[in-house]
């Protein structure tokens, strides 16, 4: 018997992983949640049939979405994370001892519950005493925040389904308002490769450019996401992601990482020409 998980990356491209066994499935108020075990990628979590993370490659995504803003901001104390019920971003954040408070806003309580039970490798630090969990709509939560956070990390799903509203201008505008004067927002920025993803990426970039004085994009290679070529958005009120980045200071922290390093930090902002062109089109 062969059991395969398949995700449609485009109407003409499919990506499959051979499944060893399915551990969990449920329909929450917002989405279908599944957890599988596989030989190649270890345990993995999908939402509405879309790959969220695998044990084998989640470190790339979580390190890159977290350490880049944390290395640029000179003194990040109050952090807001939106989405991220799997706990991966929280795990990376809790490694910074100067962080005082982390608010986690996840719309779907069940994702947190399932992650705690089946994905201990990412959910391990959700119990850290600096972490405050709010199960509500991120758009609603942030509407009430003013001049409060140093760093906001938007770890969203795709721009359709429950994550849709985290790709809107009203949301980015609210993030701007919620950040302090030198605050930074980093977001999951989709992929430039396949047409539909690229369109979503451009739409998001246009809205962020209109909402923040500084808006750059950086990349990473994530094998289980469509095309493997993935982008993150770096939006900021004051600091430039490369020019204002103190690599010596970050290295002094002595954090051990698997993907991120300070050379790669600068390099990640160097983008292929076709991506630069797409971004310029909407700037």
């Amino acid at each position: 018997m062969e059991l395969w998980f398949t995700e449609r990356h485009t109407p003409n491209v499919k990506f499959s992983i051979k499944v060893d066994r399915q551990l969990y499935t449920a329909q929450s108020e917002f989405q279908r949640i599944d957890v599988f075990d596989s030989k190649e990628f270890g345990r993995f979590l999908t939402l509405d049939g879309y790959m969220m993370l695998t044990e084998k490659d989640e470190f790339i995504y979580h390190e890159m979405i977290t350490h880049v803003p944390m290395a640029v901001h000179p003194n990040p104390k109050n952090i807001l994370v939106i989405g991220a019920g799997d706990g991966g971003v929280i795990r990376e954040l809790t490694r910074y001892s100067n962080v005082e408070s982390i608010d986690l806003v996840e719309i779907d309580e069940l994702v947190i519950e399932v992650s705690r039970k089946y994905l201990p490798s990412t959910a391990c630090c959700l119990g850290d005493e600096r972490v405050h969990i709010f199960c509500e709509d991120g758009v609603k939560f942030i509407r009430r925040c003013d001049n409060k956070y140093d760093v906001i990390i938007v770890d969203s799903t795709d721009p359709f389904g429950p994550g849709e509203s985290l790709f809107t201008k009203e949301f980015y505008g609210s993030c701007n308002k919620a950040l302090r004067d030198d605050g930074i927002m980093v977001n999951q920025h989709e992929s430039p490769f396949y047409d539909e993803d690229a369109l979503a990426m451009q739409r998001a970039h246009r809205k962020i450019v209109e909402s923040f004085p500084i808006s750059r994009v950086y990349q990473a290679h994530i094998p289980t996401y469509p095309s493997g070529h993935w982008l993150f958005g770096f939006a900021s009120k004051k600091y430039h992601p490369v020019h204002d980045f103190n690599s010596v200071k970050w290295n002094m922290l002595g954090l051990k990482t698997k993907y991120y390093n300070t050379k790669l930090h600068a390099g990640a902002f160097a983008l292929p020409n076709y991506v630069e062109e797409m971004l310029r089109e909407v700037e």
Partner: protein, 481 residues
Amino acid sequence: MALSQVNAPIYEALRKFRRMRIVPFDVPGHKRGRGNMELTEFLGEDCMNVDVNSMKPLDNLCHPVSVIKDAEMLAAEAFKAENAFFMVGGTTSAVQSMIMYACKSNDKIIMPRNVHRSAINALILTGAVPVYVDPDVNNQLGISLGMSVEQVEKAIRENPQAKAIMVNNPTYYGICSDLKKIVELAHAHGMLVIVDEAHGTHFYFGENFPVSAMEAGADISSVSMHKSGGSLTQSSFLLMGKNINADYMRQVVNLTQTTSASYLLLSSLDISRKRLALSGREIFAQTVEMAEYARSEINSIGGYYAYSKELINGDSVYDFDLSKLVIYTLPIGLAGIEVYDLLRDEYDIQIEFGDLGNILAYLSVGDRKRDIERLISAMAEIKRRFGKTGTNMLSQEYISPIVAEPPRRAFYADKISLPLEESVGRVCTEFVMCYPPGIPILAPGELITEDIVKYIRYAKEKGCQMTGTEDINIERLNVLI
């Protein structure tokens, strides 16, 4: 087998028909989509398959004897009407049919001036003469309210020979007149009550809504099922009470209705009626809950005023439709129409309309919580980014019309075209209105005043979409020679 609200006879007949795989040598010529593959790919094969012509198994809207008749009976039952007709020319055609039924040439009809253009169109078609009741006005918000009972009484007294009274239930802004009382008055004077319920479908199915026309004992009502009820655009119901001769009404409707009624529209009415009859109560309870939530969140932003039942004054605001999310925007220094444009251009949110002082977000059977959150956040952002102190803001004022000629005579009279400013003091022969809401600023036969021209200029400057005139740019008006 007896039919009940779980049935949808037209829908069921279409499904059966599809299985019969009939070879089409009739219209439409796309022959189940094969003749127009690009369109079929766009709309889907399922859709093209049921875009068919009237035929025995599917009945005929002009003269229903089987499945359409059954579906109309079920609709009548659902709306607690004596009879109901499926309409495929929009609520416009239903409103026109009501007036053409009630009035012949030179008959008088009492109506509020803030009616939809379709009602005044019907006056041009029939030659009926309007007796306008000035609606009461809320000067702070700049909106027209309902008719006060006293005003209606006065109009009846002064025009005892009028054939009918027309009532908006509710207005676009969700405001209702005292319909029961008006019905009582009208019937005591031998007049019919005809009701525009384009925005009141949900009154028939939800709880705690204002009284519906049929329940209030009105004679005829036009219901836009496609607005809050979930059917396809252009599909509506015409509802009749016991005083109405439905067979004659059918003839009136057939004067202007297509003989090739779309089965897409008919089946959408049938399925939507079934859905609302079975679960309308829960659906609209949810809609109201979302509207109430949005109101309280938007009011907590500050500046905006999302109004509700506190407007009720026992007369010209006899009741308020809680599903309507209307927001007064002038305190943040932006005209409604400006907020309307910002929502779309900046935030990809399309709302129903913006006038000079208000916006309306339409909530209905299909709304999602997360979209409501987006709307609220976008409103907060608009205030933060674009808000200013409101000075020199003109609010919508109700300008009492001066009717110089009946609409029909003015429309067909010899006319000349004059630049806007030069037209003051002349009698207009055409409509001028912002669309939406489609309520005329000027109707054929009305005197053009300085106030009206000023108003048109201001509305244009703020970006209202103006329609109705022969001159597409609304720089000139047609007036009587």
